[in-house]
Symmetry: C2
Subunit: 178 residues, 2 copies
Amino acid sequence: MGRPIQASVFVGTSLDGFIARPNGDLDFLPPGGGEEHGYGAFMATVDAIVIGRNTYDKVLTFDEWPYGTKPVIVLSSRPIDLAPAPGAAVERMAASPSDIAARLAARGAKHVYVDGGFTIQRFLEARLIQRLIITRVPVLIGTGITLFGALPRDIRLRHVTTRQYESGLVQSEYAVVT
Amino acid sequence: MGRPIQASVFVGTSLDGFIARPNGDLDFLPPGGGEEHGYGAFMATVDAIVIGRNTYDKVLTFDEWPYGTKPVIVLSSRPIDLAPAPGAAVERMAASPSDIAARLAARGAKHVYVDGGFTIQRFLEARLIQRLIITRVPVLIGTGITLFGALPRDIRLRHVTTRQYESGLVQSEYAVVT
């Protein structure tokens, strides 16, 4: 049997590695997500989204629900609004990354999009992420919520490819070496 | 009059932004600096090197003195060994980044290489760095000495170019927007 489920990260960061300011603000990212850099194509390959509570709260402030009708799992120990937009399919889970991955695999999910700083870190630490697609925005912001965190040991990566965009975005794709 | 002196950073980091492990170890970098990625060509354009005390102490453990006969300024409030190798031209300074830049400019230096985490951060904060050349090694190490630090305000950058190497190194060059 192959690996039951694939999980990817697709995220924008400042050059100094922050995915948000300390208060969660994303104002340093280009407006509207910036120049097209593959987000739509990536999302088309995803059949479930796993995000942390803070990311969910942030997404709720957006003008539009960005996930359409795809299943969105929000990791939270507290109750959440399960109907943020018409057609939205939101579910709350409070479990370990491996338990969540197993549950999604059992439902037939093949490719999961993991988002949010703390959630990405937990899944990376549990060795449940296979691919990282990181888009660097050309700015240093000094402080904020970091993409990566402490690790019990090194995680080796294989560089797949890097794309550069007119607006200054640089997107690198890595596979986690198991 | 134009800007009196140019200062650049040329540095390798883990994908999570560390230039060294917490104890200064560089074992996560490829042996011998890895695949040729422009260090020699860069060094040929440099006429002085400014490093912090910790970087100097680390360089002293290398098999070879890496700076030849180029002037090396070590930032330290304590005395240092000024003759680490035959031909080495080492000088100690304990002054502000702007004072050091002015002193080097007065001596005719045109392009200074600034290295070492804390030293890079001090020069960036003083707006004395014009160019950043960052080479990412495909590994996450979790903790260590960070390349970047806190800033009083954002520093906007212009992406110049990104090069990718067979071994997985990705090198991005940025100009600081003034």
